[in-house]
């Protein structure tokens, strides 16, 4: 019985499709991952989804991308995956913090495909000009998190590395941390 609405960031769509057989109670609804860039619109979108599904349990497969998600999940009937953002969810708290402190900027598969949209359309760096400089103010290198759901886009990563003028490495993560995070959230929902 699919009795839990799983509002899922589109950045995890392929990963959750792979994990879906392990979560038979989850009914997935995906939201465009680009809403991360517009937390006010993300909030409105979530409100609309909840209005469409006024009853039943809700699980967010999300970081703390908008205050609405965090605050809802302090109420009974709601839970979210632990982690301040999608990268922490994929890596786990300690590893994420270790790499972040070391200066990493992360790419997940879905956003890698849309990286120009992120930097040019959403952040406003026309032609990507200045984006690398801004990133290099606070980051020293790029890490592609290989979740295993698609072949590593080597040519694209080299293009990103070249244009942002930052070295890139590939870190295989698999889906274990994500699976555990969803499992733990589902347990909290039932608890």
């Amino acid at each position: 019985m699919k009795d839990i609405l799983a509002i899922t960031c589109g950045i995890f769509q392929a990963e959750m499709a792979a994990l879906a057989p392990r979560f038979p109670r989850l009914r997935f609804v995906h939201a465009d991952s680009m809403l991360h860039m517009r937390p006010d619109l993300l909030q409105t979108h979530i409100d609309d989804l909840l209005a469409e599904h006024p009853s039943g349990k809700v699980l967010f497969i999300y970081g703390d991308c908008t205050p609405r998600i965090v605050e809802l999940c302090r109420q009974p009937g709601f839970a979210k995956t632990s982690g301040i953002n999608c990268c922490e969810i994929m890596l786990g708290r300690e590893e994420y913090r270790r790499l972040r402190k070391a200066g990493a900027f992360f790419f997940l598969p879905e956003w890698s495909m849309r990286w120009r949209q992120v930097f040019e359309r959403e952040l406003g760096f026309a032609g990507g000009r200045g984006a690398g400089e801004m990133l290099r103010e606070v980051h020293s290198h790029l890490i592609y998190l290989d979740t295993g759901v698609m072949p590593v886009p080597q040519a694209l990563l080299q293009e990103i590395s070249r244009e942002l003028v930052m070295p890139v490495t590939v870190l295989p993560t698999g889906l274990n941390q994500l699976e555990q995070a969803v499992e733990a959230a589902q347990e909290r929902l039932d608890g």
Binding site: D40, Q43, V70, A126
Partner: protein
């Protein structure tokens, strides 16, 4: 040095704003340096750069300015400050403050904080920047050490913004409430305006460009609180 005519100043401001929108940093700096050569660095900052930054701040509020354009505005200000420091001249740096800023515990979103530091320095503030993931005691220790009346705490997410409460507690526990004013900022405070009071902040601004105005106000509040 000569005085610029009002029309000349307005033309310079228009030109600088256009260059900022087009991310033409080098041309913007060249224009400001040309103005500084003729009228001094202080005029370049107070009569050209600051009005343009104010306009950019208003555009940000109306959501007519991208993050990239805000970033470029900060870099142009930083370029001018670096040039002024290298060349020397009449620009009054570090004449206000000092103030202490940092990202709260667990927060690593440093870009906004860095932009706040640039805009504060351009406005004459001496800024002690403690960096990312700053514990409440570190903030307050630094404020005591440097005699700062304002602490600026930055956080991007709700969960990290809630760590500001610990900083509020630390300030109050040391009996420094009122004398040390707490400025809070970051994306989540724009999204949830009531959060500033919830976590114990004394004031906030909706963009880095507006930070100097906020710090002026809080500094005055500190003086008032101590005088009362």
């Amino acid at each position: 040095m000569t005085e610029e005519t009002p029309m000349g100043l307005e033309a310079n401001r228009e030109a600088l704003y256009a260059l900022m929108l087009e991310a033409e940093r080098e041309k913007a700096l060249a224009m400001l340096l040309d103005h500084a050569r003729r009228h001094g660095f202080q005029s370049a900052v107070s009569e050209v750069l600051e009005p343009v930054l104010e306009r950019a701040g208003e555009a940000w509020l109306r959501e007519n300015l991208s993050l990239a354009q805000g970033y470029v505005a900060g870099k142009i200000a930083e370029d001018l400050l670096v040039a002024a420091a290298e060349i020397g001249g009449d620009l009054k740096l570090d004449v206000k403050g000092p103030v202490v800023i940092g990202n709260v515990e667990d927060d690593y979103h440093s870009l906004g904080r860095k932009m706040v530091a640039v805009f504060l320095r351009a406005a004459g503030w001496k800024v002690i920047d403690l960096g990312n993931d700053v514990a409440p005691s570190q903030f307050v220790d630094a404020a005591v050490e440097h005699g700062a009346r304002v602490i600026g705490a930055s956080a991007m997410m709700l969960t990290t913004a809630e760590n500001v409460r610990h900083l509020r507690t630390e300030i109050d526990a040391r009996g420094m409430g009122g004398r040390v004013q707490l400025a809070v900022g970051g994306a989540v405070f724009k999204l949830r305006p009531d959060l500033m009071q919830e976590v114990g902040g004394d004031g906030t601004a909706s963009s880095a460009i507006q930070a100097p105005e906020l710090f002026e106000r809080l500094w005055a509040q500190s003086l008032e609180a101590e005088g009362a």
